[in-house]
């Protein structure tokens, strides 16, 4: 028996917020009477952290603490239109809509604060801790709570905002494919270290080193969740998953998690990630959505690593032990490649 080590590389970019459909998203922001803010969306949190990231975006744009913001998602009676959470559009489209809604609410908040403090609204700033103060004179201030109460009960004004973000649909030229598919891209490069058993064709992934460029890590822990979990999915796609193990033959399609394979808790691959942040000009605070792209470089990097380990090119997914073994047999055994 021999295990052969190999190292494979791949790099990718990924389109953020497809606009071939021209689908917009909207947001509404309003303050409670005591100066907390509700963000109403019909957008979906399916685990990627939509509620959490829009909450931070709203807090930043409003200039209030994140604890004073709550995001309600996806009631079609109260949340304004959103096409949905797909195509890496959540952060980009919804985030921008939330910024606009928050900006409008902030404008109203600052105007009321200005009246209360008897200054010009342009001379005011928020401290991000619940107060509004005169620039350069932090002691001349009013709390957001007092401002909201004054707005509603004294001035008869709401602190609320509407936001929509749309990039109109792009036609696709049928002769040349000319189009504006997106306005920004994420990037990643990744190196996988693995071993191949030349008697059984089994592959074991040992380590991943990667660099992911995400525009801005709006919440570094949410980014980490996506990158770690997404790369795991990449390993899973590369080596395990399919609903049709003998595609295009339809036989033996798995119907449970005993036969639909995903790597288990004992197969966690140590993954050393570097996050790069090059803000995108039309993205919310520069942040691009990291969630979709993270698996993509893992698949080819594994295939390339297997080639380096044993000299077998597997060009069909998933890369099962059987495919590796057939490749090994076809070339008369392992032929490790050295760089």
């Amino acid at each position: 028996m021999a295990w052969h080590k190999g190292r494979g590389f791949a790099c990718i970019n990924y389109p953020i917020g497809m606009n071939l459909g021209g689908d917009p998203s909207q947001a509404l922001v309003h303050s409670t009477p005591d100066g907390k803010f509700m963000v109403s969306l019909s957008s979906i949190d399916l685990g990627q952290g939509m509620k959490s990231v829009t909450r931070q975006i709203a807090a930043e744009a409003l200039g209030v603490p994140v604890a004073d913001v709550y995001v309600d998602t996806a009631d079609s009676d109260t949340g304004p239109h959103c096409m949905g959470s797909f195509a890496s559009r959540g952060t980009h489209r919804v985030g921008n809509a939330v910024i606009r809604a928050a900006a409008e609410a902030r404008k109203q908040m600052m105007d009321v604060a200005a009246e209360e403090l008897e200054v010009n609204a342009n001379d005011l700033d928020t401290d991000g801790q619940g107060s509004i103060h005169v620039k350069g004179a932090p002691s001349r201030k009013i709390s957001v709570a007092e401002t909201a109460i004054a707005a509603q009960f004294k001035h008869g004004k709401t602190l609320s905002g509407r936001g929509i973000f749309l990039i109109p649909p792009s036609d696709v030229d049928d002769e040349t494919g000319e189009m504006t598919p997106v306005t920004t891209y994420t990037h990643a490069a990744l190196i996988v270290e693995l071993s191949v058993d030349d008697e059984t064709g089994e592959v074991e992934v040992h380590e991943i080193n990667s660099a992911y460029e995400v525009g801005r890590a709006l919440n570094p822990k949410l980014v980490e969740q996506q990158l770690v979990g997404g790369a795991w999915m990449g390993v899973s796609h590369a080596l395990y998953e399919t609903t049709e193990p003998y595609y295009p033959d339809r036989r033996h399609g798995p119907v449970d998690f005993n036969t639909y394979l995903m790597p288990g808790a004992a197969e966690v691959v140590p993954h050393n990630i570097a996050v790069l942040e090059r803000p995108a000009e039309d993205a919310p605070f520069g942040g691009k959505g990291p969630g979709e792209m993270c698996a993509n470089p893992v698949l080819p990097a594994i295939a390339n690593g297997i080639y380096q380990a044993v000299g077998v090119r597997i060009d069909t997914l998933p890369i099962t032990p059987e495919k590796v073994l057939r490749g090994l047999q076809a070339q008369g055994g392992a032929q490790p490649k050295r760089r």
Binding site: L46, G47, Q48, G49, K221, L222, E224, Q225, V228, G229, G230, A231, W232, M233, D256, F257, N258, M262, G264, A265, A266, V268, H271
Partner: protein
């Protein structure tokens, strides 16, 4: 169709119910008792989202014939916190970003609790083994394993 009377303890409280013949504990808890913390993920015993603790053992509620729990002690994630005080595992999952969509979390916590109740300082391998029947599609498992180890070590920030 005749129903069968069953009495059991759920998170310390006595429950007496009439269960449907051939029905499973997951449906019983969710539809009749009103404990929504165990989740339906497969009905096959292959995902672990419905894991509960029966007499100290982890058990898949979707594969448990309801009437077999007569006289048993059943624990679910609904009963994991002590009033407002989170169980160390819950605290660790929260601080460790050990959940994304949250659908597997309740089952995962049950599997982890059985482990820590028996083995307060498990190794990383023992944690992986303990949650091996509980699938997670979001996290890649590592944050979950880290959170369980962190709960075991008592190394929590105990924040807020």
């Amino acid at each position: 169709m005749a129903k069968t009377p069953v009495t059991f303890t759920l998170n310390g409280a006595s429950k007496s119910v009439f269960v449907e013949q051939g029905g499973n504990l997951l449906d019983e808890l969710r539809r009749n008792v009103g404990d929504l913390s165990p989740k339906y993920g497969c009905g096959q015993g292959t995902c672990g989202a419905c894991t509960v603790i029966v007499d100290g053992q982890p058990q898949l509620s979707c594969l448990t014939l309801s009437e077999t729990i007569d006289g048993c002690d059943v624990q679910t994630t609904s009963g994991l916190a002590n009033g407002p005080d989170l169980h160390p595992l819950q605290q660790a999952f929260m601080e460790g970003f050990a959940a994304q969509c949250g659908y597997c979390t309740a089952g995962m916590l049950m599997a982890a609790k059985v482990l820590l109740d028996r083995n307060p300082s498990p190794s990383r391998e023992e944690v992986a083994e303990a949650i091996s029947g509980n699938l997670c599609r979001c996290t890649g498992y590592e944050p979950i394993i880290d959170a369980i180890l962190s709960a075991a070590s008592g190394n929590l920030r105990r924040s807020s």
